[in-house]
Amino acid sequence: MAQFRVCPQSGLYFHKSAESLMKANAVAAVVFLLLAGVLALLVTLTRWPTVHLLPADAFYMVLTAHGINALLFWIIFFEMAVLYFASSTLLRSRLATPRWAWLGFWLMIIGAITTNVAIFQGASSVMMTSYVPMPAEPHFYLGLILFAVGALIGCFVFLGTLAVAKGENTYDGSIPLVTFGALTACIIAIFTIASGAIILIPTFLWSVGLISYIDPVMYRIVWWAMGHSSQQINVATHVAIWYAIAAIVFGAKPMSEKVSRGAYLLYILFLQLASAHHILVDPGVSSTWKIFNTSYAMYLAVLASMIHGLTVPGAIEAAQRKKGYTNGIFEWLRKAPWSNPVFSGMFMSLIMFGFLGGITGVVMGTEQINIIIHNTLYVPGHFHATVVAGTTLAFMAITYFLVPVLFRRELILPGLAKWQPYIFSIGIILFTLFMMGAGTMGVSRRHWDMSFADASTILGMTFEYPGTAKLMMGIVGISGVLSIIGGAMYVLIVVGSLLFGKKLEASAGFWQNFGVPLADSCYSPTRPERLGRPPVIEEHGSAGFEAPGTFVLAIVFLVTFVVYYFINWKYLASVWPMS
């Protein structure tokens, strides 16, 4: 018998099995974030030239582990929780096949542990990309395959839940925009995992000797069909979280359902193409193919992100204006709840994702400009702006909402929580900017020693980067540590709240943090009332600008984008002619 509880604080309904799965996945995510953060500290302290902490072999091992634990395990466990939330909770539906969902969860756990064991045994320091023909141990690939199968099961449980909700008529009209965004993420995830299977299964067979040769260019193309698309899962998910937080904190209503959903559709249609931007300077792939694919068929997915970048803050502005914050262009923003980490985290995620991650991604994904960027530190600079400043911070922001609502615990240390998004953001802004700066000066990614001390003894060759590059790497080190402190605050607050936070439901015990339900008295066997549509307000198609402040921000963004884009062409024009 399906059992639901209603959260008195948010009015959201939680289905008992779905709730347990959300908790288990979210807790697993935070555990892997903690691990990834410790590894990040070691990596950062090694790349900080004056500290240069680890020896080379440990550095490459820890870097492999950092990438995989952060990008795959933290992010994807959290996404599973988001999928279950967006389907079961937002649609007031029971979760389809909870047993399968648990199977998926445990496969992901076993897979994650297997791969970590392989890495820390020391013979699989191949970086997360594991480019052939450099070999890792078979169980390195096997763990990733198990993890992916588990995630795939989660995707099907999500789709099944949408079908159940439709079949049992739990909501009126169309699915909410946030669920639509999660559906986008899920569709892209299925494509991603299929590509992953196509490349990882043969690579596994190769590592045990059953296949003799894997073409390295083919590997790169298919691996990135997985590697890139999985970033689009992240984008689709964190945009959905932006919309969700705008709705939760402000009661904001999407400016236009049609435009926002259309933008999501563009993601589904075009994002898969973009694996090309990782192989722009590879041999054996033609320029025509590169141009078409790296631009997602004329940048239509970039267009989609630019649309969300307007409609999310636009919806917030419109909601704030309705509440009376109508003075000038920016009163709505000044009077926003900046001390609420749910909002401040979400808003900074949006700004940093656009200005730092988005602009640099398009610049370095330009076929020719990639020549001056490929494999330099610019690359991790860029993707820490997308996947840390964008996705990770958005996930952190929604956690502050979920701790009381899902886990029924009050946040501990609210004063610290108020500051956490700011400290994390300042750290990440400096960290990514200076990493990109060092990359522009040629400093290589995945590199243990930018002073090349050993090369002079072995090869008799010396090389030094400009002094500014070294200085920048010092700032990368310091700001990296700052952002890790911000991350540690998050882990402390979340774990502390789950363990010691005031219980908001009388019966919430210790184990309920890890997937055990609350006491029976919290649930009722009756189904929640059908989720209705909000009343129609006739205000669409207004000739005026509903959100002028947002429009100004959008224009500032565009100008930054244009200027920075052409600066890079100018820089490219200064290197040796090539054809």
């Binding site: 909410p176 919309y243 049609k258 054996g284 940048y299 267009l303 649309i307 090369a455």
Partner: protein, 180 residues
């Protein structure tokens, strides 16, 4: 709370879109088309493009070709590993191979002359990162890439390996000298 509720209008796809969004989508689309057009434009009018010229080749066959060039044009050797320095004629095909953990041989080129630079790896993937210019190319075993280059500045240039290639990756340097 409406992004987490079903759309108010049952036929939400029929409701008109506000002016502000239409204007922004128009501007953004225009910018996207410019972004797209810049790449073909640069192929025609820009000076920094990659060729598309590449061949599949067995690593051993590539090694033979590089050795032939070295035997013909070697001028001296450098360093404890006696890495040959070659000075091929202006305008010719020049070869560099990547292997664990060196770039071989060292090239000596002439300023403002055009060369066809061939790159491939004998073992794992490597990254050709020419510093301080910051020209970066992926070097892949089994594939021979050809890029026509015209060094228009002279001096000592260093090839850093910027694709992770194992434990001594950070020692993998090479040189290109450009003479006036």
């Amino acid at each position: 709370m409406s992004a987490i509720l079903p759309p108010a209008e049952r036929l939400w796809w029929n409701t008109p879109v506000g002016r502000q969004e239409i204007v922004w989508v128009g501007i953004a689309l225009l910018w996207c088309l410019i972004l797209f057009a810049m790449m073909p434009y640069w192929h025609v009018y820009g000076k920094q493009n990659l060729s598309n010229e590449a061949y599949k080749i067995y690593p051993a066959a590539y090694e033979t070709k590089v050795k032939a060039m070295v035997d013909q044009y070697k001028v001296r050797e450098e360093g404890p590993q006696l890495i040959p320095v070659v000075h091929p004629p202006a305008g010719s095909d020049v070869y560099i191979l990547a292997r664990l953990w060196q770039w071989w041989p060292i090239l000596e080129l002439e300023k403002n002359q055009t060369y066809r630079l061939h790159l491939s790896s004998l073992d794992w993937q490597h990254g050709f990162s020419l510093q301080p210019l910051n020209i970066n190319l992926q070097v892949i075993p089994g594939y021979e890439m050809v890029v026509t280059m015209t060094p228009d500045t002279s001096g000592e240039y260093t090839i850093v390996c910027n694709e992770y290639c194992g434990i001594m990756h950070h020692t993998m340097l090479g040189k290109i000298f450009v003479k006036e």
